[in-house]
Symmetry: C2
Subunit: 230 residues, 2 copies
DNA sequence: CGCCACATTGAAGGCAGTCAAAGGTGGTGG
DNA sequence: CCACCACCTTTGACTGCCTTCAATGTGGCG
């Protein structure tokens, strides 16, 4: 079945046998969400976590006056809100699909049973949380210690290296979200991001054609990313 | 022995038997650090992690031009750099004692053996990482969505509730670090923090006497913390 | 007593957010 | 097929919070 295959791709379940994955699928509940529908809210009681089967989900915080900070963009085969299993019992943020999405929901107590019975699953969990932690350290560094130009450069280089690894032309890739969403991910707003793109383009570091980005001068971009200005 | 008692207090080792803790102690190496000595550096090869036995340690990032963002202040019985066991193999930040400190160092490979053999230790690890994750989500929210006044208010309320739980007069407590370090923890600099303290004091929300803080108007402080200004 | 790190205050400048408006783009339904 | 509409993007002018720079104040400790 298709759901099984999607689950098997998740890092969280890597190294598990067919049988174990079948078990895991057994306790999950598949749900579909439309774009803009709310999956969960900041502070809401959390009784489980999710694995993304298809589509794209944003996890974000809101400020008092409505500005949004995206914490994480969840692609297929990735889990989210795993940490809610263990800390308090509320979600720490909002989650909402950016595209129509199919998710698998795992109720807390039934999943905890599986973890206890399955050491490999524990280790995967630890590895996943560690990776996430590293992601947040990077995010804190960006927000606190770099200006918008440096954050954007960092992000573009990261995306470029991921896309180079996958396939395709060196240094040409597509943004995975709209620029407005990207602004929110980088801790700024679309107007400011737009100006940052323009500056990088004027300095011949990149070419921007809609969502398609071409890196023209990787060295200069790296310098910019490391937080150098003047 | 005293080291054993300090280890036993760590959440990471809670629920373990005397024997297991003895085992764990067996693979650890005790080290002492002076104030200002570097424990590890951002990007340095990581072959293990630490538990703080006594003293106070800061974990921080540096910007290109030398500004510092404290990620975490480590108090006794807390572990740090645990995540380095599982992601890549470099430390993601700097660590340095704020006071003379005694640490226990656990080499990676030997500790991984223990985790695999001990399910309770895995679960503790997961719980610890989850808590840390929540901490970073809060930090991101602060840095991105709140101004300095709100961040300071949030921090003071958190500290007050921790100290209330411990003992002593309601709403009276001491800062655990210097104001300069606190500024770095809050993603700002001492001058700006000083002005924020002054504003809160002028508005009769708190009284500041050196490191001693008294909360005078908890409701107003909560309002401020939630990110309301004007 | 005097040093040194920490803390406070003032003045000035800059990065980024806000407000406003216009142009672009994709998708949906007629 | 096209026209409309919602949403995204860009540009300009302005404002404000926070950093920078500079100087003075203060407390602990050798």
């Amino acid at each position: 079945m298709e759901t099984r295959k999607a689950l098997a791709k998740a890092n969280l379940f890597s190294g598990l046998t067919e049988l174990e994955i079948e078990q895991i699928e057994g306790i999950g509940i598949e749900k579909s969400y439309e774009k803009g529908e709310l999956i969960f809210s900041d502070g809401e009681k959390a009784a489980g976590f999710f694995v993304n089967l298809s589509g794209q989900v944003k996890v974000y915080k809101l400020s008092a006056d409505g500005r949004e900070q995206i914490l994480h963009i969840i692609n297929p085969a990735e889990a989210f809100a795993e940490a809610a299993l263990f800390t308090g019992s509320t979600f720490p943020a909002f989650a909402e699909p950016l595209t129509p999405s199919r998710l698998m929901y795992f109720p807390k107590d039934r999943f905890l049973g599986l973890i206890q019975a399955n050491p490999q699953l524990s280790l995967n969990m630890i590895a996943g949380l560690s990776t996430l932690l590293r992601h947040f350290v990077d995010l804190v560094e960006d927000l606190s210690l770099k200006d918008v130009g440096a954050r954007l450069s960092t992000y573009l280089l990261e995306l470029a290296s991921r896309s180079d690894r996958a396939q395709g032309e060196e240094g040409v890739f597509e943004l995975e979200v709209t620029k407005t969403q990207l602004a929110s991910r980088l801790g700024t707003i679309s107007e400011t991001l737009s100006r940052a793109f323009r500056r990088l383009q004027n300095d011949n570091m990149i070419r921007v054609e809609g969502r398609r980005i071409t890196i023209l001068n990787r060295e200069a971009l790296k310098e910019m990313a490391s937080g150098w200005s003047s």
